[in-house]
Amino acid sequence: MGSAQQLHLGVALDGAGQHPAAWRVSDVRPSALFTAAHYLAHAKLAEAASLDFVTLDDTLALQPGGEEVVRGRLDALLTFAAIAPVTSGIGLIPTVTTTHTEPFHISTAVASLDFASRGRAGVLAVPSRTEAEVAHFGRRTLPSEVDAEAENAEVVDVIARLWDSWEDGAIIRDEPTGRFIDREKLHYVDFEGRFFSIKGPSITPRPPQGHPVVAVYGDSPYAHGADVVLADEIRGARERFPDAKLLAGLSIVLAETEQAAIERRRALEAYAPFPPGPSFTGTPAGLATELPRLAASNGLDGFHLRPAVLPDDLALFTAETVPALQAAGAFRQAYTGATLRDHLGLGVAANQYAEA
């Protein structure tokens, strides 16, 4: 049993589920999408099943579509901050847009999410390539895909430098010398990149995880960097990201029978087509058989699951698929560590400025 590969599992908590019509069939009230309670309830489901993390999508513009789809959303990082103190095990990975937001703010915000969650923060760093967002900021032109990805990688680089700009143990409170900090343990990052420069150090001490977990979407050919890569296109992904935890995106439509799952999917498709990308339609047990097989044959570390409807597909996944995976030795029985890095097996983050 113990020889099976241990999967890493994250869940997307977007809107009322991934399908555009999810909000019409879910028991969730549409207005609940703008409350913390909605995200807390679903994060608690994921936490009870010892899943690695939840994600929350974001952009600095409205979601495309008409009046029949979910439009509008709160800031993803702040939404996860609002559930951080009242969850205890689940990793929290909000999307942050890197093209228009200040890297300094991203660094301190994610570090602060790490403090508020006591070591469970991550960030999904996503560049923006929409004219709508350009028009909301009005100070730059639309970057090319290659530039946006290069800038994204630069942000990922500098936010970690800022996290490291305070060594662990920099706060000494040494009364005899009257020193609150040992300034030898604080470092200017003096970052000069292609897109911006930053002096540093951070205003925020090094967060509990040292480096909160950095994730990117790996579907762009120009994407690079990060600890965790989420990708729908898994062919060739392992070669492109040899050192990252590679999690495949997978939409799920579950029901107790194969037939019932197909009917649920058809009911949704009567409203709107299913979003592109890999998906699984079937029973929770069938999914539990499928995931280890897919992981083994594609060199994956796990999955980023996108429930078609919340809480329905997440509830079935945690109630039935997860126990089946556990029975097969492919998933932990309970959290074995306290931090998101622990869950993902990422080890202790070295500080690039500390003397060895």
Partner: protein, 438 residues
């Protein structure tokens, strides 16, 4: 009914107010400290908790200042997290209008307003300095004379965004498949911002989250009179408080506003004792802990712009004059003194008259509004300020993190309640209701 006192709790920031050497002093960065202060303030039925913002670490003489508390989290992230552990307390934070853009500030504050059920407030500040700008994409681009122009247009733009969704835009009609209808668009075209599009956040529980302003200059007062809900002031004494209060409230009718629409809340520290003497003795000790010899010398160096490390903090002021042309020695502190030679002359006169050492002088000239006494005396004093129109209330700055407000809530709040000048429970759910209902 007598005028009701407004109260806010300030999480002690990165300056020498916090006595970090006290054995009761806890972490200034762990979330549990913020949670403790917020829960205490809510237990005391405070109007709101206030967080300042840091964008670059302070430096002195070319080095990071190491004698004061340093290091703090991101303001909006902490406020959002605090919404999870409080239910009524207002959550206010400073966000620079210089190193942010209106779309993101509008979105962050609106998000906190939703997440907290209507308890968000934004303290609008500007910063002109390139030194802080070295941590940001734009650097230091703002001319000093443009500060309020940018702040005003920034705030106006944010308000346009907050107003852009109709209150009933979120339809949520599952049967007919209408999630939202008539999401507003915005077009703002001005000298500072030229942006257009659609906002992502529906109208918030408060509609317009609370806006706070902290300027003291003529432009700052005018800006606040025109548009803020709360103004933080630095006018501590009863007399200067009354003057400031009258001046600011006098400016309101020009903008069609009533005196009650802008609340004036000076910052104040407090020291409670079992007896008056005990409180004064404690206050004296705290001041000496706050102003250590090295802190006193550094403070003098801020004005002198010279290395004064050879001087004894317990001795007299330096005989040499400040260097008025030198680059500032200290970065990251608000400088209030424009003419260092005049300041030095004034301080020499004070030190001479009162026979003060450097350290004693610094203690004297950096004193803020402070309420010192028994719980009953402090309550009386606060009430006197409020009934006498020197303030609408106070932003209390404890000198200990995170337990510094505990005794105030346990002992002073009941006294204020007994006097009938402070709520015994919240009567509304939103910060706007706490501040402005009746």
């Amino acid at each position: 009914m007598p005028k009701q006192v407004k109260l806010a709790a300030h999480f002690p920031g990165v300056n020498n107010t916090t006595v970090w050497s006290d054995p009761r002093s806890g972490s200034q960065i762990d979330f549990s400290s913020f949670e403790h202060l917020a829960r205490t303030a809510e237990r005391g039925k405070f109007d709101f908790l206030f967080l300042a913002e840091g964008l670059r670490l302070r430096e002195h003489a070319g080095k990071i200042l190491d004698s004061d508390v340093v290091g703090r989290p991101n303001t909006t992230t902490v406020l959002a997290a605090l919404s999870a552990v409080t239910t009524r307390l207002g959550l206010a934070g400073t966000l620079s209008s210089t190193f942010n853009e209106p779309y993101e500030v509008a979105r962050q504050v609106a998000s906190i307003d939703h997440l907290s059920g209507g308890r968000a407030a934004w303290n609008v500040v500007t910063s002109p300095d390139a030194w802080t700008g070295q941590n940001f994409r734009r650097g230091g681009f703002l001319k000093r004379e443009d500060r309020y122009r940018r702040a005003e247009e920034f705030l106006a733009t944010v308000r346009e965004l907050w107003d852009s969704w109709a209150p009933d835009a979120l339809v949520g009609d599952k049967e007919n498949g209408v999630f939202a209808r008539g999401i507003g668009r915005f077009v703002h075209s001005g000298p500072q911002f030229d942006i257009h599009g659609a906002f992502t956040v529906p109208r918030t529980p408060q509609g317009q989250p609370i806006v706070i302003q902290a300027g003291d200059s003529d432009e700052g007062r005018e800006f606040a009179a025109k548009t803020a809900d709360v103004i933080f002031s630095r006018h501590g004494s009863l007399e200067s408080g009354k003057e400031f209060f009258a001046d600011v409230k006098r400016r309101l009718p020009a903008y069609g506003r009533e005196p009650g629409e802008l609340l004036i809340m000076p910052a104040a520290t407090f020291v409670l004792g079992d007896t008056e003497e005990d409180a004064h003795e404690q206050a004296r000790e705290i001041r000496y802990q706050q102003v250590r010899p090295a802190t006193a010398i550094q403070f003098l160096e801020q004005v002198w712009s010279r290395d004064l490390s050879a001087y004894d903090a317990d001795g007299p002021l330096p005989e040499i004059d400040p260097d008025p042309d030198a680059e500032p020695l200290t970065w990251g502190r608000v400088r209030h003194e424009k003419d260092p030679l005049a300041v030095a002359a004034k301080w020499r006169a004070i030190a001479e008259e009162k026979k003060l050492s450097i350290r004693e002088l610094v203690i004297e000239v950096t004193a803020r509004q402070q309420f010192v006494g028994t719980a009953r005396q402090v309550a009386e004093s606060i009430d006197e300020y409020v009934q006498g129109d020197a303030a609408d209330g106070f932003v209390l700055v404890p000198h200990l993190t995170p337990g510094g407000l505990d005794a105030f809530v346990d002992d002073v709040i009941p006294q204020l309640q007994e006097r009938g000048v402070f709520r015994s429970d919240y009567t509304g759910d939103t910060l706007r209701e706490h501040l402005f209902s009746r």
